[in-house]
Each structure stands twice: as C-alpha cells, then as structure tokens.
C-alpha cells in the first residue's frame, strides 16, 4: 500500500507521464463510446465518395467507398486498444514466466532460455508476424496471439535481471530454509519485488503492439470484419493523390495512441527509478 502510494505520488510529478495517462484514458473513453459518438456505421458505404472534410454529414470526409472517415477513426480505437492491451498482456505473462524461471534457476536453464530469447530477438517480428498471419489467417484474436507471442523477450530479459539480483536476498534464503515450494518463492516472494520495471515494459509493449497491428493492417493483413487504422491507411495508399484525409486522420490516431502509451511508460519509468532523474 505504502509502496504503491509512493509510486503514484512520484508518477504524478512527471508531467509527461500524466499527459500520456490522460491520452490513454481519452482513448479508452472513445473506444467505449464509439457506437454512441460515431455519426454513422463505419462500414456503411454511401454515394458520397472521396469527399473532403467538412462535407455536410462527414466532418472528416469520406473514403473511396463513401464510408465516413470520422466513424472509422473512432471505431478503429477499439481494434487498436484491444489488440494493444491483450497482446501486451500475453507478452508480459510469457515474459515474466520465462524470465523468472531463467533468473531463479540460472545455470543451464538460463543458458537455454537465453538462447531462445536471443532467437526471438533476431527474427524480425514484423516479417514473422506477416508470415504467420498469411499462413494461419488473420482475425482479431489470432492477431493478439501472434503479436503477444512475438513480443515477450524484452519483459523476459528485465525480469531475469531482477530475479538474478533478488534470488540471493535474505528473505529469499529465509523462504528456502522454510522449505517453501519453488513456485511459491518465485510467485509470492520474488515477483512482487520485481514488478516495478515490468509495469514500464507493459506500457511500452502496448505501444509496440499497436504499432505492429497497424503495420500488419497496412499490409492488408488485419481483421477483415473490423475497421482498423492500419487498414484505413492501406486503403488510403491507393488514393493519396485524391484524398489526403484518408491518410492524415487514421495516421494521426495511431501516432496519438502510441504516444500516449509511450509517455505513460516514460512517466512510470521515472516513478520506478527515482534516482535516474534526467
């Protein structure tokens, strides 16, 4: 309670962190309220094609099929946040487990897991994700799984470092002497003390996952049944000369979402490492 209160007090002092958190909260609200605040259904086509922002009824203009760009941007928040948050959660769970086991046991376990981590860092995430989606199909939850499974190494490395540093601590020795089960020592003794940097990574992972999802969408590999920002940019590519608004607004939305989680991560980082004030 005290520790987390301290954490929050330090986070509040970081202006960038607060700005980021504000952006994130705003995005969550937009995602929740999309059906209410969007002027029309984002998939519904109309006869008003490629009309510029300010056209009556279409504040941000329409695309080549006459779909409302504003509604697309608002609804796209849902896909980006769902994929971003769920993929990051998957990555964090995997990374924490792998990093904890590697750091706690050390030795050959650590060596093997270290190699696997390295392998995942060498293979370009984007290309592998492209291939997996192309072979196994897209769909929202498959995207979550693919992005999550390809994003754990960073969390694993950080958690491993924490566990290496903490496994010799007096309270861990005490738990060992008491004969506690290894899983219990890992989960309830060491992990709570190793979590601060994980929170930072989690926030940055959401930003990374949103960016990766948008990139896949831009390559035409998003969920075909839902409007996403990346797919809107893919669609905009063919109409750049006629309709700048098809590119500008979805791109702005991606940038703001990624910025929000990056800033939050920076703020969390300042709060987690009070001595590293820049």
């Amino acid at each position: 309670m005290d520790a987390s209160g301290d954490f929050w007090r330090r986070f509040r002092r970081s202006r960038t962190g607060l700005a980021g958190l504000g952006l994130v909260i705003a995005l969550v609200l937009v995602a929740l309220a999309a059906p209410v605040i969007a002027p029309r259904d984002p998939q519904t086509t109309s006869m008003t094609t490629l009309s510029p922002p300010g056209t009556p009824g279409f504040p941000l203009g329409t695309d080549n099929l006459g779909r409302d760009v504003l509604s697309g941007v608002l609804w796209g928040t849902r896909v980006s946040l769902t994929v971003g948050v769920c993929a990051a959660a998957t990555a964090i769970v995997l990374g924490v487990l792998i990093g904890a086991v590697a750091g706690f046991y050390g030795g050959w376990v650590d060596a093997v897991l270290g190699r696997v981590t390295e392998l995942f860092q060498v293979i370009p995430r984007f290309v592998l994700a492209l291939l997996v989606v192309a072979l196994f199909g897209g769909g929202l939850w498959k995207l979550v799984l693919v992005i999550g499974v390809l994003s754990w190494p960073q969390a694993a490395r950080v958690v491993r470092g924490q566990f290496l540093a903490l496994r010799g601590a007096a309270y861990v020795d005490a738990a060992r002497i008491l004969g506690l089960h290894h899983a219990r020592i890992i989960l309830s003794e060491i992990l709570p003390n190793a979590l601060a940097p994980v929170v930072v990574i989690a926030s940055l992972d959401v930003a990374g996952a949103i960016l990766l999802e948008a990139s896949l969408g831009f390559f035409g590999l998003g969920d075909p049944n839902r409007i996403s920002w990346g797919m809107m940019l893919n669609n905009a590519q063919a109409h750049l000369r006629q309709a700048w608004w098809m590119s500008v607004f979805p791109g702005l939305a991606i940038s703001l979402a990624v910025l929000g989680f990056n800033l939050t991560g920076d703020g969390l980082n300042d709060a987690a490492n009070p001595r590293l004030d820049a």
């Binding site: 072979l135 930003a207 831009f218 940019l233 590519q237 000369r241 700048w244 990056n262």
Partner: protein, 331 residues
C-alpha cells in the same frame, strides 16, 4: 607497440571466434522456426512450399522428393536444413525465379535505402545531439524531447505517406513512386541524380525514428562525457572548446550510434518493408507485399530466412566493431 597490443589483438581474435560460434545455433534456430511454420501450417505442406500459383505437376513431385514430404518428421527436418544450407529456398512461380536469387536481388535495393537512411540518421542525429548537449538550455531541450517523442510514436509508413502528400502531390518537387524515372533513360551522372531524387523521400521517412533515437543517445552520452575529468583537463590546457567537443566528447559518443544502428537492424528492415510499399521501391518489402497478395509463400519463407540470417550476421559485426571501439569490452 608491444606485448600489450599483441595480447589485445589475440584476445580480440579469440572473442571474434567465440562470437562466431554463438551465431551458428542462432542460424539453425532460424531454420527450425521456418521448418515448424511449414509443418504446422494448415493444409498440404506442398501448398505451403509452393504458394497458390499454378505449378507444373513434375515440380510438385520434385518438391515432395526434395523435402521428403512422405518421410518422418526428423528426416524432413534434416532434408530441410540441407536444402536451406545449400541455398535451395524453393522456386517462385509468380516470378519464375529461384527464391534465393529473387530475394538476394531485392535485398540489394533494400540495403541502398537502408544505408542512405541510416547515414542520414547518424549525421543529423549526432549533430542534433551534440548541439542539444552543448547548450543544454530549456528551449533546445524541449525541441529535442519533442523530436524524440515524435520519432517513437509516428509510424514510418504514415510519415512516408505524409511526405508523399507534401513533397510529391502538393509541391511536386520530388517523385512519389519508384527507383528511377520511367519516361526517360538516364545514363552516368544523370542516372545517379535521378536515383538520388527518388531516394530522398523514402530515406527521410525511414531515418526519422533512428535520427530521434541517435540524437537522444548522443545527447545523453555527450553530457556524461563532458562532465569527466579529461574534459576538464583539456579545457584547463586551453584546448579550444570546439576541439574539446569534437575530439574528446564525440569520440565517446560514437559507441551509442553504433549500438543503435546495429541492434535496431531488424527494425530498420521491417520499417524499410513498410516504407518501400508506400513508395513502390522495388526492395524486399515490396516483394513481401506482392507475395502476400499472390499467396506466394515460398517467397515469404525465403524472405524470413534470409532477413533473419542477415540480422544474425549484422549483430555479429556490430559486436566486433563494438569490441574494437571500446577496449573495455572483452569476454
């Protein structure tokens, strides 16, 4: 010259050899990941190895034999490793070319783009970083923080579209598409100028993120270096400030630049794939995009393989350069 240098040389060689050995299991790992993807993909593996482009039945038979598709899984893995190691990455019927040839040719064009972008990022990033460290006042700090936040958050393919909108569509200064002018056949210097004109926008789009990253790191390591005793000593000796900055400070800042470029190589490649798609740059990214549209899976697999191996090799080189630049790094 003396015993120390010789010893350092041989330890560097030993380090290099050790590092090279570490790269072998990584390359094998990459091959195994590819193999697993093919094995686990739904449907007939021949389809996966072939793509959905029509192919002659004799070739289908040949594939079954080459990859031992009716054999047990371990035999298949061994055959797959042998095929890959001997450079047999399959054949693309969409392009009527062996995948290895096709990807190698496209990788060359991607490297031209990447090298230009990274050079741009290094030159501008270091300059900005040094300037920000020198007057480490509020105004420039806000600018450099803003640039680095933007660099982290703006997707490079969207920046690419914005550049097209501004400089190609609205202003008409630079071409929006391709690697050379189609209407005119330039030779010699004119051809190089033509290539440069086509290179500017994609290179800028690709470099922005790394420019921001390098600027931030350079600033931090310059500030650290400039607070060291040897800088104070140089100033006390009356060395002109400009020389202090360049000779003593910058040398220490070189390391982070090498690090950023090296360890982000995989990301730069991915970014390049996206930027190429916007500009129709005929590199490996454009190849990926077309391969997905045409369901040309052997090309996708070939790109993943060759790109991953390239990253292993580049990481290896970066570690070696690092060891050369910083005598403290020895394992």
């Amino acid at each position: 010259m003396g015993a120390a240098t010789v010893a350092a040389g041989s330890s560097l060689r030993r380090y290099a050899a050790g590092r090279l050995l570490q790269a072998v299991p990584l390359v094998l790992g990459v091959i195994v990941v590819n193999f697993l993807l093919i094995a686990m993909a739904p449907g007939d593996p021949v389809k996966t190895l072939l793509g959905e482009y029509p192919a002659p039945p004799e070739y289908v038979m040949q594939l079954r034999r080459e990859f031992g598709l009716d054999q047990p899984v371990l035999v298949r893995l061994a055959l797959y490793v042998r095929n890959v190691v001997t450079g047999n990455l399959g054949y693309s019927f969409a392009y009527r070319l062996p995948v290895a040839t096709l990807v190698a040719e496209r990788l060359g064009k991607t490297f031209v783009l990447m090298a230009t972008a990274l050079t741009l990022a290094a030159v501008i990033g270091v300059t900005l970083g040094v300037a920000a460290a020198r007057r480490h006042g509020a105004g420039l700090n806000v600018v450099s923080t803003g640039v680095s936040l933007a660099g982290y958050s703006i997707p490079d393919f969207w920046l690419a579209q914005l550049l097209v909108l501004l400089f190609a569509v609205a202003l008409g200064w630079l071409p929006a598409q391709g690697i050379r002018s189609v209407r005119q056949d330039y030779t010699g210097l004119a051809a190089i100028l033509d290539l440069t004109r086509h290179l500017i926008l994609p290179a800028v789009a690709l470099s922005f993120r790394y420019m921001a990253l390098i600027a931030r790191l350079t600033r931090a390591s310059m500030l650290e270096a400039m607070s060291q005793d040897f800088i104070l000593a140089a100033r006390a000796r009356g060395v002109p400030e400009r020389l202090v900055l360049l000779q003593h400070g910058l040398r220490n800042a070189a390391l982070p630049v090498v690090t950023v470029i090296g360890y982000n190589f995989a990301f730069v490649l991915a970014g390049s794939a996206l930027v190429e798609t916007v500009f129709g740059w005929p590199g490996v990214g454009r190849l990926l995009y077309d391969a997905i549209l045409q369901r040309d899976t052997p090309v996708l697999l070939g790109v993943l393989m060759m790109v991953s191996v390239t990253v292993v090799v580049v990481n290896l080189l970066v570690d070696l350069v690092y060891a050369l630049l910083d005598p403290r790094v020895r394992y």
